[in-house]
């Protein structure tokens, strides 16, 4: 019963992990959205090193597992991650939410600033331009993907503070400020960690969360396979592994 490896996330990394484990360990793939390749549709919420608790449309699911793989993807940095000082006005949105809301007509700024130069910045830009917005892009690390249709692109500019209350009015950067009526946070990528007990280094937990920007198929596959190797090592099944991994005697690298 305890031989299963629970994988949270049925994206590219999670499925690569499940594939790498096929024939070597029993796997249970959990995803909160309906996804091809997911065995259980539920949101994983708690892990105690033995049991994973998930909550889904069919009720709570408890999965006894010998190891847990977190493959829940990555998101752009939030305000605290970016170290942005200033006020906390309305109109400052994480890129994933901004894209979804713009698509539903619930977010229609006229002169927003998008912070970022990678995949999420490009998505946010496209979604906002679609609504007719005049978008300024501030890319702290430069452009990682082609950015088109922005009114202005400022590369290598560090955002410092958000100003305005109750609504956002300005983004202050090192060496300049931009008047704006919205700010979209689309810079960088950090792993999404939502399972209590596996947030910052969980017991018997491996992570498959590449933060390459833009993401690549190879990156996801490698992350999934590496997590599969660590999960097998955690379960003591390292000896059954094929030739593409390291010595079966090497200690698990959590």
């Amino acid at each position: 019963m305890h031989d299963a490896i629970a994988i949270v996330g049925a994206g590219a990394s999670g499925l690569a992990c499940a594939e790498a484990l096929a024939g070597r360990a029993q796997t249970v793939v959990v995803d909160r959205r309906p996804a091809p390749g997911a065995d259980v549709r539920a949101t994983a919420i708690r892990w105690d090193g033995r049991d994973l608790l998930a909550m889904g449309p069919s009720g709570p699911v408890e999965i006894a597992a010998a190891a847990l793989v977190i493959a829940t993807g990555a998101r752009p940095l939030g305000r605290a991650d970016l170290g942005l000082a200033g006020t906390r006005p309305a109109g400052v949105l994480p890129a994933p939410a901004a894209c979804e809301l713009a698509a539903h007509g619930l977010f229609r700024p006229s002169n927003p600033v998008v912070i970022g130069g990678g995949r999420w910045a490009a998505r946010a830009l496209a979604a906002l331009v679609e609504t007719g917005a005049a978008v300024t892009v501030v890319a702290p690390d430069g452009l990682l993907v082609p950015i088109e249709a922005a009114v202005a692109v400022h590369e290598r500019l560090t955002p410092l503070a958000v100003m305005g209350d109750p609504r956002v009015e300005r983004l202050e950067c090192e060496g300049g400020a931009f008047d704006c009526d919205a700010i979209v946070l689309a810079h960088g990528l950090v792993p999404i960690r939502n399972v209590d007990g596996a947030v910052h280094g969980g017991e018997r937990t491996a992570y498959a969360q590449p933060t390459l920007d833009p993401p690549s198929e190879v990156g996801s596959r490698t992350a999934g396979e590496n997590a599969a190797r660590r999960a097998l090592a955690i379960t003591g099944g390292a000896a059954t592994i094929g030739p593409w991994w390291s010595s079966p005697n090497s200690p698990p690298s959590a």
Binding site: G59, D81, R88, A97, H104
Partner: protein, 454 residues
């Protein structure tokens, strides 16, 4: 024109607590609040400590109200669907001077009738294992608690509204009409309301309200506090509120576990001019983190999920509670600078009594008044998710994975007298978007649910 026996100005924790108390009487009561929700000022930017009063100035009205409120928190919060935990507090001494300060603190505590014991550093670390090894001694105050100040304020207001109080949001007071010595009407952009009595619970704007009403002159000013919010991953490991030894200038920085399991670090205390300034600055935030790490070395910025600032209503003297010198039907509940949450239960009782003595019709009990709100169980702290799911299948839909907020909880937040009007209002009621991804995953879904209600 609408007329009320009592118009309360200000929907912070103080005004809402008074509204709840008066809602148990037959008085016709309105609460007017300038913002689009209750609890938008100091009440949403504080540590969430419900102190037992150990460190209040002995003999002060503040000490009296805080100590009188303390024993009732469990019972009160049970009626307001508000989380509360009496986890105790440690004031930690790391120098010889600090240790002398502990003696003084213990005397304060005893003078206030609060249980407080000076413990060794070793014993303090047994109470809170995360505490620095350089703790020499600590004052342990077991009756200190933590409360959700947003749910408390909203709970007060919701119960008041249930019992017939008109809670008028987005309604700033622009002036008063008077007749002789008395205030007769409260003017707002939504029209004027007749008022038998006016309660000034306007927090930082209490001086403005008194001036507009022709009441006694005093001044209130913003004392800004900045805070860090850290992840449940570290907050849930805390067993007690941890602070240093307060000095004459400041109570210093605390590490406060929240009722949601996260951790607050702060506040700073800086008197300013600009009442609207709620900006954080890097230097202050760095100083808070450094001070907190001196108490708990394990703290690390990788757990940081949010920084914010709020202004407490400072005034000298504080706790200006009573009938105005010029206006016999204006009652102040002002200058409650940092213990508004902790004193609110007894403070509301006092204001009720003051109103009664001044002639307001607040003696008779309202027949059939509701004493408690129906609790909405939360997935995050429920021991058995299967029970929740059996009760409502919407508990199976986790909308905010970081804070484990389900569709059942979000929808319940709408089925009340004072529903949220914004995503931020939903956050205050359910904690959705308040977690480590700060709405990256759930904000769009919440905005859609909100739009569907509009």
């Amino acid at each position: 024109m609408q007329s009320y026996d009592v118009v309360i100005v200000g929907g912070g924790v103080v005004g809402c607590a008074i509204a709840r108390r008066l809602s148990f009487t037959t008085a016709r009561v309105a609460l007017v609040e300038a913002a689009e929700d209750v609890g938008e000022g100091a009440s949403k930017g504080n540590t969430g400590i419900a102190t037992c009063g150990a460190d209040c100035p002995p003999g002060s009205l503040e000490a009296e109200l805080v100590t009188r409120s303390s024993p009732g928190w469990e019972a009160l919060c049970a009626t307001l669907d508000t989380p509360f935990r009496r986890i105790g507090g440690l004031a930690v001494a790391q120098t010889a001077e600090d240790e002398r300060g502990l003696e003084r603190l213990r005397e304060h505590a005893r003078a206030n009738g609060c249980e407080a014991e000076i413990v060794t550093g070793e014993r303090a670390r047994a109470i809170e294992p995360l505490l620095t090894p350089s703790a020499r001694a600590a004052l342990h105050v077991p009756a200190d608690g933590i409360v959700d100040p947003l749910r408390l304020t909203i709970g007060y207001a919701e119960l008041a509204a249930r019992n017939g109080v008109d809670v008028l949001l987005g309604t700033p007071v622009t002036g008063f009409r008077t007749g002789g010595e008395r205030v007769t009407h409260v003017e707002t952009p939504r029209g004027a309301f007749g008022a038998g009595f006016v309660v000034n619970a306007a927090g930082i704007e209490a001086d403005t309200i008194s001036r507009l009403a022709g009441g006694e002159p005093f001044s209130t000013w913003p004392r800004q506090g900045q805070y860090w919010l850290l992840d449940r991953d570290i907050g849930a490991r805390f067993h007690a509120i941890v602070g240093g030894v307060p000095t004459a200038e400041s109570r210093g920085v605390y590490c406060v576990p929240t009722t949601h399991g996260s951790l607050l670090l702060g506040p700073t205390a800086r008197d300013g001019e600009d009442r609207a300034d709620r900006a954080v600055d890097t230097a202050s935030l760095d100083a808070i983190f450094a001070a907190a790490r001196r108490l708990v070395p394990a703290l690390d910025r990788r757990w940081a999920i949010k920084t914010f600032a709020a202004n407490r209503p400072a005034s000298e003297p504080g706790y200006r509670i009573g009938v105005d010198r010029n206006r016999p039907n204006l009652v102040h509940a002002a200058g409650i600078r940092s213990t508004g949450v902790s004193s609110s239960p007894a403070l509301a009782e006092l204001v009720h009594d003051v109103l009664g003595r001044a002639g307001a019709p607040v003696q008779d009990e309202r027949p059939g008044a509701v004493a408690a709100l129906d609790p909405v169980p939360r997935l995050l702290d429920h021991p058995d998710p299967a029970v929740l799911f059996g009760r409502d299948a919407a508990y199976g839909v986790v909308v905010c994975p970081c804070e484990q907020v389900t569709a059942a909880e979000v929808e319940a937040a709408f089925r009340v007298h004072l529903p949220p009007r914004s995503v931020d209002g939903l956050r205050k009621r359910t904690h959705a978007t308040a977690g480590r991804c700060q709405g990256s995953m759930c904000l769009a879904e919440l905005a859609r649910r909100l739009a569907a209600r509009a």
